[in-house]
């Protein structure tokens, strides 16, 4: 499907989605509560068939936290970007897409580890790279470490 067709299709599925044309991919912004449902339909419907999660990225936008999902269809070879944000920085929570794409398991653990976004229904959400007793989430913009991070 081309980007235009995808745009139409997504607007039909979720009218509240904000769609921005990126350089190559469409970026679909949806509220975190609706993301899972949209992802599920996108994966399961025959003409989109987004069965391959390329990349899952967590971002700290200073005021809110965001998660990007780069998904691709191995059958049709079209890609799309899903984006969601949560304003709650203390208890940020997004639905896990592990049940759709198993490759999300480590991606989500990594995001939880470094950005502190919790994923609901993740089977094994614990720290990925850092120690279990580490305090804070290093990729957040307000993370301070006076010993190891040298500001220039």
């Amino acid at each position: 499907m081309t980007n235009e067709q995808l745009k139409e299709k997504i607007l039909k599925l979720n009218s509240s989605a904000a769609i921005a044309e990126g350089k190559t991919y469409l970026t679909v912004t949806v509220p975190s509560s609706e993301l899972y449902a949209l992802a599920k339909t996108l994966k399961e419907s025959e003409d989109t068939a987004f069965d391959y999660l390329m990349c899952l990225t967590g971002v700290d936008y200073a005021t809110n936290l965001g998660v990007f999902y780069h998904i691709n269809s191995s059958k049709h070879n079209h890609s799309i970007v899903l984006k969601t944000t949560t304003a709650d920085r203390e208890n940020a929570e997004v639905d896990s897409v592990y049940s759709l794409w198993k490759s999300a398991e480590y991606h989500e653990r990594e995001v939880f580890d470094l950005l502190g976004i919790k994923f609901k229904n993740h089977p094994d959400l614990r720290r990925m790279f850092l120690d279990d007793d580490w305090v804070g989430h290093p990729l957040r913009k307000d993370y301070v470490d006076t010993i190891n991070i040298v500001e220039r």
């Binding site: 990126g22 350089k23 990349c55 971002v59 990007f68 780069h70 191995s74 970007v81 480590y106 470094l114």
Partner: protein, 373 residues
Amino acid sequence: MVEEIQKTIDTEEEYTINMGPQHPSTHGVLRFVVSLKGELVKNVQPHCGYIHRGIEKMCEKITYPQIIHLTDRMDYLSAHINNAAVCLTVENALEIEMPERVKYIRTIIEELSRIASHQLWWCAFGMDLGGLTCFFYGLRDREKILDIFEESTGGRLIQSYNCPGGLMNDIHPNFQQKVKDFIKYFRKVLPEYDQLLTGNVIFQERAKKVGYISKEEAINFGLTGPSGRGSGFACDVRKRAPYHMYGKVDFKEVLYTEGDTLARYKVRIDEMWESMKIIEQLIDNIPAGDYAVKMKPIIKLPEGEYFQRVESARGEFDVFIISDGNKNPYRIKFRSPNLVNLTAINAMSKDHKIADLVAISGSLDLVIPCMDR
């Protein structure tokens, strides 16, 4: 932590062992907490982060040309490909068209690093299975590629040859001849690899039907690169989203459908042949021209999100840059193929022997610094 895990999985029959962080077959500091029942693997829990350096955090503080020396140190066995990914992202964001010469040289060196990486994988895989001699043959031939790199780029393992806007310097005048000599040599030596390991009945028995993963599962787990193509998942980014010269050269996407360790092995061996084919098509036709375009002294990406996929030696390597218009990225994410490939190891090695776990983790070709970043 170990005690905790042990308590949850140690039943009367199962027991846990730690494979790693220091273990001969994890090629670095990866730790598997393996619960075994006799010799049968029941559960594998990988623990990463022993060389987590926080490259993504570091990148937020430095400029785009400086990122190159950090991506070098992620997947150090195919460092050039990672660099090219970052450079491509920056160049596409700035909408700069690279000169043909740069594209040619980048493609050739990328394929050379792919061969070098697969060679090292081959010898390490042979060593994992106990064939120590493979290790030296692989390294011997890899040395020839490293020599070519050293002559042109100045670095052997870590070249830092790419930079946003082209290459650091032009190729050495001997480059073309040396590459041609290497290909001639390697076409003669590669069949020896097959005689020594591929055809060997012990190896075949060790690799066949070990670590099976179906195509659907492979896609679901996001297995890319040779590991995914061994299951029949046509995930070669060089074909699916061509970059550099890959859209214009003729090569085959190697696909096997068996989905076992042997298939993943064969994909890599065949990919070496395909890489040589690509290089041969390009090496004689490198067009004259600049080796770099003039860039501004301080590179600032316009505000926005930029995503670039490349095919690294181990799978799909993605760079995702979110820019706020400054000279350094607001957020940069590297999608490491190794980390995603590792996801599947538990499903693959279930109910196999502990020796098979070694073979399976070897066949996924994990590079730990890339995984941990």
